[in-house]
Symmetry: C2
Subunit: 330 residues, 2 copies
């Protein structure tokens, strides 16, 4: 059987990363020095007044949109959009406050638009954000019949003391994994290609991305939370952990259960590619310098499955797994 | 000759407005009371700390994108994107600080992407904003060959004292019009339809939207600036003035020169439709309770053509013009 890869599904990550690098070089000019550095670049942090700053992020839901269009089910894709932004904000320690959507269509359908907005509002409620505004663009000629695109923009508030920079991550600290609800909103181009004929699985792909805001804020608001890093597992899969701190690595010896959908995909995809494309059952990963149980309990009390999954190591930018030959490096 | 209208070009404004109204109803819930009210809803204003707030806005460039694609010229469309956001922020009195872009393509082309980013960076420089981040999404299957979409998100900073609410606009105050560079980024679906075969005019459509940040900030930073309202003339044309204050109207007795491109379009479009679709040569309109000359000079000293164009009247939500039967009402 031919193995699939993310590149074979039409997404050229290397090209995209080289573009983003060039972009960073060009954008790095006067003014950037004033930004605070948040862990992993999940959000940029703009100081506003004294020790208060706002964190900003933008994201989309990728080709999960095309699954929604194919199945004509649009009521939860807006929740994914909010999740992708809100989960990024909490990675730098920010409390999400306001959300804006960009909704572009070829021709506006009341029914579709109402469904999309319903999902956005549900997501904002879960994330504690106000849907503060947005742009609805009608662009005949750019989008095909029934197609649309969605982009989200979210801001959160963070104090200098509350900012998570990732600098305090050290070997020996504990990794807590929090379960995903499935594929979330990354790797869909590859998944769609493999599951194209399987309607039940396509429907499963639409399960909304979990929003981790409430348990994370409840943790961060405790005195001495001991949380030193938070990684939202998005595009790039478990490699997202490498974003937090360039001097450490990770060893996973007690992974969360891998949902069936990833087992089905893994029949067609090389194992390392699975871990660098999908969340593999772990939607969020926290690092704590304190008791693992305290973090685990915070999530469980909010209804999320969580457990200690491993430890921080001193093997820089290397991720190893017990009982697996897969080694991810940067 | 058949007259064209915006609706005949495939853009149903009434449907879009009814959707936005429903959206507002649904989004208006706990939390919205905490937002400050900025004039015209050009940006939403989220308080951060004490008397400091951030203003947020999102916008796109509509089907100006399709002109860029048709002519394969992508070096200034990013400037339009920044302009659409930055000019909205200044309407509430905010100083633009940071910008994020969402750039979605079917398949990433280095050359096209570099051109797009070049325009975004040029725009950010003109607007005094940092390009703080962004999202580049590769979505095979959603966008046609060479097509892409762009959304911009911008934040600015504003103090309680500096917020422009529009409430101080009164009959008798002066209207200052600032020249546009042409069609800017609205009404393109209609313009493209009419000018489809005219390559020179299509090239002219790509003239970048002017960025009015510098002269506006220099004005607002003066003591007692006397500016009571600022309208960015975008979708809806001169009807944008009605957004600022529901109790007043406007009389235009000394309009800015109407650029040739609008004269050509007006051969195919009813006159009132021209004024409610296009900027008709006026990209920004300010209202002052002080001396018109002071506002005019601020723009001229920054190289923008500006003049007093009319007066605020007490005929609520009505716009009249000297020597014209056109009356715009809300």
């Amino acid at each position: 059987m031919d193995l699939h890869s993310y590149a074979s599904a039409g997404v050229d990550i290397a090209r995209a990363e080289s573009f983003v690098e060039r972009l960073k070089q060009r954008a790095r000019r006067a003014g950037h020095d004033n930004l605070w550095k948040g862990a992993g670049g999940y959000a940029c942090v703009v100081p506003v007044s004294g020790d208060q700053a706002v964190a900003l992020t933008t994201d989309g839901v990728g080709t999960k949109l095309l699954v929604a269009c194919q199945l004509n089910r649009h009521d939860t894709i807006g929740t994914d959009l909010v999740a992708m932004c809100a989960n990024d904000l909490i990675c730098v320690g920010a409390r999400p406050t306001a959300f804006l959507d960009y909704y572009a269509v070829g021709s506006l359908s009341d029914e579709q638009a109402d469904c999309v907005i319903q999902g956005i509002i549900a997501g904002c409620d879960l994330a504690g954000m106000i849907l503060a505004g947005g742009e609805t663009a009608e662009m005949p000629g750019l989008y095909g019949e029934g197609h649309y695109d969605l982009a989200g923009f979210a801001i959160g508030q963070v104090s200098r003391d509350g900012l998570i920079t990732g600098e305090a991550i050290k070997a020996g600290q504990k990794l807590i994994g929090v379960a995903s609800s499935g594929i979330h909103s990354n790797g869909l181009s590859l998944a769609r290609k493999i599951l194209a004929g399987d309607r039940r699985r396509l429907e499963e792909l639409l399960t909304p991305t979990l929003i981790y805001v409430r348990p994370v804020l409840s943790l961060l608001e405790e005195k001495d939370s001991c949380v030193t890093g938070i990684a939202h597992i998005t595009g790039g899969g478990w490699r997202n952990l490498f974003r937090l701190n360039g001097t450490v690595g990770y060893h996973i010896d007690n992974p969360l259960p891998v949902p069936d959908i990833f087992r089905q995909l893994s029949a067609c995809v090389e194992e390392a590619e699975m871990y660098r494309t999908f969340n593999m059952g772990m939607g969020l990963c926290l690092i704590t310098a304190g008791e693992a149980g305290r973090v685990v309990d915070a999530f469980r009390s909010h209804g999320f499955a969580a457990q200690q999954v491993g430890l921080v190591t001193d093997r820089a930018k290397t991720l190893t797994m017990k009982d697996s030959a897969v080694i991810l490096g940067d």
